[in-house]
Amino acid sequence: DVKVTQSSRYLVKRTGEKVFLECVQDMDHENMFWYRQDPGLGLRLIYFSYDVKMKEKGDIPEGYSVSREKKERFSLILESASTNQTSMYLCASRVRSSYNSPLHFGNGTRLTVT
């Protein structure tokens, strides 16, 4: 079974702090994704990466950056955390080669910015 592991389940940070959310997958997947989940808004794509050192902006990249130095690890960075970034963050991965491959999600990191 594919395992996508997010480093923290809950995180509390202060406004203005730099925040790192880490995600690791163990199945050699090329594609990795970061979404945020908010009630009534569903899952919104922040950034995705289709290979090492490659990244693409999703629908809501403002205030975020990402890093993919190794295939198995995809990091989401909040350069200067703000209260409107309080949310559930979900990481996912999938195989690129098959167009109908499903996403495999981690269990999420609930971030609170105070």
């Binding site: 009534g40 808004l41 569903g42 919104r44 794509l45 995705f48 629908d59 167009y99 109908n100």
Partner: protein
């Protein structure tokens, strides 16, 4: 800005009922349409998916209906059970990215 529109936002049915969740999209580059199920405290998990060259797909009690010309698709849950109570997301995908609807919170009452 939402590329996939999903309705309703919430749905309550009695056990044995047939909840229907609808989704619509605009981007014709999407070529894979999965549905995900999410229980509290967990990440979403793939439930069922369809390709645009197929009009219907059934897996157990779950059926996707797909209308390519209308750019709409829907999920039907036959003989719904309390254990089906969860949040359901439709999605649309290309080879590189995947976009989700806003989600439907389904409650199946015993």
């Amino acid at each position: 800005q939402q590329q996939v529109k999903q309705s309703p936002q919430s749905l309550i049915v009695q056990k044995g009922g047939i909840p229907i969740i609808n989704c619509a999209y605009e981007n014709t580059a999407f070529d894979y349409f999965p549905w995900y199920q999410q229980f509290p405290g967990k990440g979403p998990a793939l439930l069922i998916a369809i390709r645009p060259d197929v009009s219907e797909k059934k897996e157990g009690r779950f059926t996707i209906s797909f209308n390519k010309s209308a750019k709409q698709f829907s999920l039907h849950i036959m003989d719904s059970q309390p254990g089906d109570s969860a949040t359901y997301f439709c999605a649309a995908s290309t080879r590189s990215d995947m976009r989700f609807g806003a989600g439907t919170r389904l409650t199946v009452k015993p």
